[in-house]
């Protein structure tokens, strides 16, 4: 401390010299404090409004500990159950793959409507973007419930639910990919006398196909996760077994199913990451 003082001289002169750096900006500081206080107040209000109470938390955590204890070790009891879970897991995968691919088929042409460099009509573009946005605003589970009303309980409703929510996501992603594409190949084709459609087909689509392929694989991966839960509302897949076992308080079965989901998701992650790398190279993760 003494050494510093010797070098800089009196602390007061330092304060004078570097007034800007050492003074406190009370306006911005009070604004920050005010924001933090407001956020905290809303948090406390939320906790009270949502009926959090210390007694309930202590009781619940105790219950949770008991459940965790009862879950160990994961035990499916019979091979017949393992088989039926495995079949449901296969169904889950099938839902994810089919839903995603159907969404690609529908979203691919639609996404061109939203891409600035393909369709020049502003109104059409704005409308299709709002369309994709509103589809994305609704969760997959809500779509699953709606499709159950239309096609009945079962995995097909799940396929349609995954498809619907993915159309929104793909529409946005594909149109962004088209807009980010290099203009030069498109111009090259136009300069050799190609029509607008030919310039899209031979100039634009070859550029965006690898991007799309990798996004589709990524979505199959993430839809495997979504597909595991849509069974909770009755749209097929492993989720049906899961919610059933939880409702019957069969904790060892529950933990076995959760373990199965985690392992399957990990395998799908691994495989799809490998394929994605081989499609677009390791740089674009």
């Amino acid at each position: 401390m003494n050494k510093t003082r010797q070098r800089f001289g009196n602390i007061d002169t330092v304060r004078e010299k570097y007034a800007g750096a050492l003074s406190v900006d009370w306006v911005s500081r009070s604004r920050t404090i005010g924001l933090v206080l407001a956020a905290f107040a809303l948090l406390v209000f939320g906790l009270i409004h949502l009926e959090f109470s210390p007694a309930r938390m202590i009781d619940g955590v105790g219950q949770l500990g008991l459940i965790a204890y009862l879950m160990l070790p994961p035990n499916p009891e019979t091979w017949a159950k393992v088989m039926s879970y495995a079949i449901s897991m296969g169904e889950t995968l099938a839902i994810a793959i089919l839903g995603t691919l159907l969404a690609v088929v529908i979203a691919f042409p639609l996404s061109f409507l939203a891409a600035r460099n393909v369709i020049t009509n502003r109104i059409l573009q704005l409308l299709s973007r709002r369309f994709f946005d509103s589809i994305r605003g609704v969760d997959t589970l809500i779509w699953a419930l709606i499709w159950i009303n239309v096609v009945g309980l079962g995995p097909f409703a799940g396929v349609l639910a995954i498809m619907t929510s993915d159309i929104g996501a793909f529409g946005k992603l594909f149109s962004e990919a088209a807009e980010a594409a290099d203009r030069r190949p498109v111009e090259g084709i136009k300069s050799t006398g190609g029509s607008h459609i030919q310039s899209v087909r031979f100039g634009l689509i070859p550029q965006i196909l690898p991007v799309i392929a990798s996004q589709v694989l990524y979505y199959i991966e993430s839809n495997t996760r979504s597909a595991t839960i849509i069974g909770i509302v009755g749209a097929g897949g492993i989720g049906m077994h899961l919610s059933e076992q939880i409702r019957m308080l069969e904790w060892q079965q529950t933990s076995f199913i959760i373990l199965m989901i985690l392992v399957t998701v990990a395998i799908i992650d691994f495989v799809s990451t490998r394929i994605r790398f081989s499609i677009i190279g390791p740089t674009a993760r």
């Binding site: 939320g46 309930r56 009781d59 169904e91 793959i97 969760d139 899961l242 919610s243």
Partner: protein, 292 residues
């Protein structure tokens, strides 16, 4: 159309052959790729019980159902009487507010948990290999199990209601944000931290003045992004009895109250879009502030 450049037939044959050689390999590859996809689709169709015949027979149901969403009980279009369409506006608004509050509390507490854990999960702050590995596995588990599964279990432990939903969102948010936060912390510039310790600052001073100014805007930005996602997540928590507008929506879908379904979904879409727009503006301001 006469070509501008004359090419002899001999040369054009060679050119054509070269071109075909070049494309045929690629074409074969695409064909193989396509046939693999078709095979996977056929297998999936069998497993997922897709029955095209039944599908075509019931195809009318689709338009019928979505059409009915747009009509009131008395057979008139919803647009003819918005007051009747949104008859439950007050009730639904309260539910929607509860949903947003669930997302807010879950996100904030989850982000707080992630903030506490992210330093233990970053290699440049924590030296112990085991602490880093254990924290990372824990965060991975919290984000891989879907939040609705947590909600199902928490409903049993904590009883029906928003508490279970908030906790489920909290756990999932902690897992997802913990990973992102740790990545931010691992990528910070260590020079300011060294500078603080060189001028005699302790651990707290290093974190507060060396690390925090580099990371806080990223943290807030990720937190806001997560809030957007959690609003969507909170809207379906009611499906398993964990509070929010999902409960109301579930009832009206199950009981075929068509116009209610469209009204509630419209309210959800509008609030999600509003929140997306607001958080996006805040995030852009944050990014602007950082680069200044």
């Amino acid at each position: 159309m006469a070509s501008a450049v004359q090419i002899s037939s001999e040369r054009s044959k060679i050119l054509l052959k070269n071109y075909q050689d070049a494309t045929s390999a690629k074409r074969r590859q695409s064909l193989l790729f396509l046939s693999v996809i078709v095979l996977v689709v056929i297998i999936s169709c069998i497993i997922a019980e897709v029955r095209p015949a039944l599908f075509w027979k019931n195809a009318g149901n689709f338009t019928d159902y979505f059409g009915r969403l747009m009509f009131l009980d008395n057979g008139q279009s919803v647009l003819s009487d918005p007051a009747e369409w949104f008859w439950g506006l007050k009730k639904w608004s309260i539910r929607l507010f509860e949903t947003l509050l669930m997302a807010y509390v879950g996100t904030l507490l989850g982000a707080f948990g992630a903030f506490l854990l992210c330093f233990a999960a970053s290699k440049n702050i924590t030296r112990s290999f085991w602490v880093v590995a254990m924290t990372r596995r824990f965060l991975e588990f919290s984000r891989t199990v879907p939040e609705i599964v947590f909600a199902l279990i928490f409903v049993v432990a904590f009883g029906l209601g928003p508490v279970a939903g908030v906790l489920a969102i909290l756990i999932h948010t902690m897992g997802a944000l913990g990973k992102l936060f740790a990545e931010v912390v691992e990528n910070i510039d260590m020079k300011p931290v060294e500078g603080v310790s060189a001028s005699g600052g302790g651990w707290l001073a290093r974190v507060r003045f060396g690390a925090l100014p580099q990371i806080w805007s990223n943290f807030v930005s990720y937190g806001l992004l997560r809030f957007e996602i959690n609003v969507r997540g909170a809207a379906v928590m009611g499906f398993v009895g964990a509070g929010g507008i999902g409960q109301t929506l579930l009832e009206s879908i199950r009981k075929f109250y068509y116009s209610d379904v469209s009204a509630i979904i419209l309210m959800i879409i509008i609030s999600v879009m509003l929140i997306d727009a607001i958080t996006e503006r805040v995030r852009h301001r944050l990014i602007g502030e950082e680069s200044r």
